[in-house]
Each structure stands twice: as C-alpha cells, then as structure tokens.
Symmetry: C2
Subunit: 170 residues, 2 copies
DNA sequence: TTTAATGCGGACCAACTTAGTCCTGTTTAA
DNA sequence: TTAAACAGGACTAAGTTGGTCCGCATTAAA
C-alpha cells in the first residue's frame, strides 16, 4: 500500500491547522484540542517537525509552535521526509542516513537499482510540487498535478471554517 | 520512507528472473536458488502473484511458474498492488477492499482528501508507466521517466547473464 | 498404478516497528 | 516565585512483517 505512517498523517493535519493560524503560534494543547489527535502524539510529531526546521518553538509560558516559513514555501516532500526519512520506495535509492551504502548484498549485481532511482525521483518530484499552502486550499479537481490548480469556483463545501481538522484522515 | 515491503521487493526480483526465462517455467526451488531468496518466502510471494493473475502455475511433477503475459504488458503498479494492495499513500484514497468508506471519522470535513487523490494518482501514473520488461533492461540514465528510455549504448555492465539476481536489493 | 516432484493453503512464531503514554528536566512570561 | 509550556527521554502494548513448517492436492513420469 506504500502507506505513510500515522505520525506523518498527523503531521500534515497539524501543519495545516498551524498554517491557518497564520503568523500566530499555537500550543500543543490547542492543536490537540483542535484536531483530535492525542496530546502526547501531537507533542511528539511537533518535536519532530521542529527538529527538521519546519516549525519554530517558543518555550516557557505563553510559548507554542509556529511555522518557520510561509506555508507556500513548505513542500510536501519536506514534511514527509521530516517525519519518516527520505522519500524512497527502496532503501538503496534513499540518499540519507537510513541506507548506508553496502547494506545490500546485491549492489554490484542488481540490475533494477537504476530504475528505482528514476522512480523515486519521479515520486519526489510529484510530492515536491505541492506545498502546505496547497493542502490548505480547497481540494483541486482531478488534474495532472502539473499545476496544483485551485478550482475557479470552490466546490460544494461552502464553509472553510478553520476549526477541527480532527483525527487522522484514515 | 514510504517503503515497499520486503515481499514486494522479492516479488520484483523473482519476476525479473522469470522474465529472463522467457516462455519457460521455473520452479519455486529454482528461483530460490537463483535469487538467494529463502524458498518459503519465494513460495509465498509466487502464490500471491499467481493469485493476482501475473503468473500461471503448473502443478505436479515438472510443474512450475511462468509469466501469464509478456513482460512488456506487466506494469509495475500491478506488481506492487498485487503484493501489498492498492498503491496509495493514504487509506482514504485507496479504491479497493482495504479502506471501506466510512473508516475515517473525518471524511466529511477533511480538506486534504482531494489532494491525496491527486497525489496518489500521480504516483500510480509514474509507476504504471514502467513495465517488467523495462526493469529487466539495463538501467536508464536519469531522465524524466516520460519515456522509459533504454540507453542507446548499454552501460559498462557488458554481460547480461540471466543468473543470480540474489537476495533483496536492500 | 505407483511414485515423487511440485504447487496450495493454511497455521504458526519471533522479531521488529509503530503508536501511544509517562516522567523529569529546562525555559520563560507573568 | 510560579505556572505554563517545550525538550528529551524511557517505556509499553499492539500490530505488522518476515520467515518457517506442515499436510494436502495435483500431475508427469517410471
């Protein structure tokens, strides 16, 4: 199924929630209440995103988390790789700490490897083309993704209330 | 990391091995010996591929497995989805038995869902453009994947011996 | 007709990963 | 000084995965 982990899913929900807050910060508690994600998990995910440089945190009383940059400048690839390592279907194609070269006893023989590089690259491109801002906008109609087009007229959901993203979208 | 399971990895190795056998059949035992994948796992994977219609099996003495169609007509998506369900980063976008509609408590509210559909579709397109035959060919240089181009002159590996793909390409 | 090779369909188990919880710091505004 | 908030762990339970094993059904060949 190639699925993302639940934590990544949470991360995206939390980030869209934060993006809607604009430049304000939100506490982990607020985000948990707003999204339905259990607080300890919120905390864990936010820590991860902060470590990856996607969020800035302010400690102490009246602290909280905020986006480190405008949502338009946060590509989806960066979110995913922040929470579950480099985007790659196979380990041998993942440039990063996860797959130290030499792990695969096949490396010298494997004829498939070059292909994986291409495939991984393609997927990265597709994901990198979307930003957090796009995810906050109303869902596009099914287009090629070449341009993450917003529909000219918003779809039937007429109330973009910035509350309660609630829970993982299974 | 979005990684595929090891079984899928095995499946691809085994299929390329089988593709090299042309129209002949191979026994699970032969494939295990040829690839280094443990026999019981080979058996399990081949069973899955057979169930998905990618392989035909012949039982009894001198039985074995063979491709159900020419390798050119087996897209990568079909291989992957045969072994780990529909290709989809999120369950809510997966059309298939895995995600019965209603699993996600958010379905009516989730603003991200439409985007996932686009993303999943893009990945499916990318994977569907490659076939098993392409994976058997020498690895392409890094191109757009628009055309799964075979290099004009084969790279330095001059011996396309159809033996020993050996083990998972980690 | 018998035999042995082969796939078929399970059950089963150990190891690993994941999601979630909890606790003890440290920082900082009020 | 206090309390609210993040930081950074350790820890646990549950689920998944990879791997093993077994008995059965099928079939070509002896």
């Amino acid at each position: 199924m190639l699925r993302m982990s639940k934590m990544t899913d949470y991360g995206i929900v939390l980030l869209t929630e934060l993006a809607r807050a604009g430049s304000e910060t939100r506490t982990a508690r607020e985000l948990a209440a707003g999204t339905g994600v259990p607080l300890p998990s919120v905390s864990k995910v936010l820590k991860g995103l902060q470590g990856a440089g996607l969020l800035v945190s302010h400690r102490g009383a009246s602290g909280g988390y905020g986006l480190s940059r405008p949502a338009e400048h946060i590509p989806l690839t960066e979110i995913i790789s922040a929470l579950e390592g480099p985007v790659s279907l196979t380990e041998c194609g993942a440039q990063g700490a996860h797959a130290p070269s030499g792990t695969c006893e096949l490396e010298t023989v494997c004829r498939v490897r070059g292909h994986w590089r291409v495939i991984n690259r393609t997927i990265q491109d597709a994901l990198g083309r979307l930003t957090l801002a796009d995810l906050c906008a109303p869902a596009p109609r099914l287009v090629g993704l070449g341009v993450p087009a917003r529909p000219a007229a918003p779809p039937q959901n007429p109330n973009p209330i910035p509350t309660t993203a609630g829970g993982a979208h299974s």
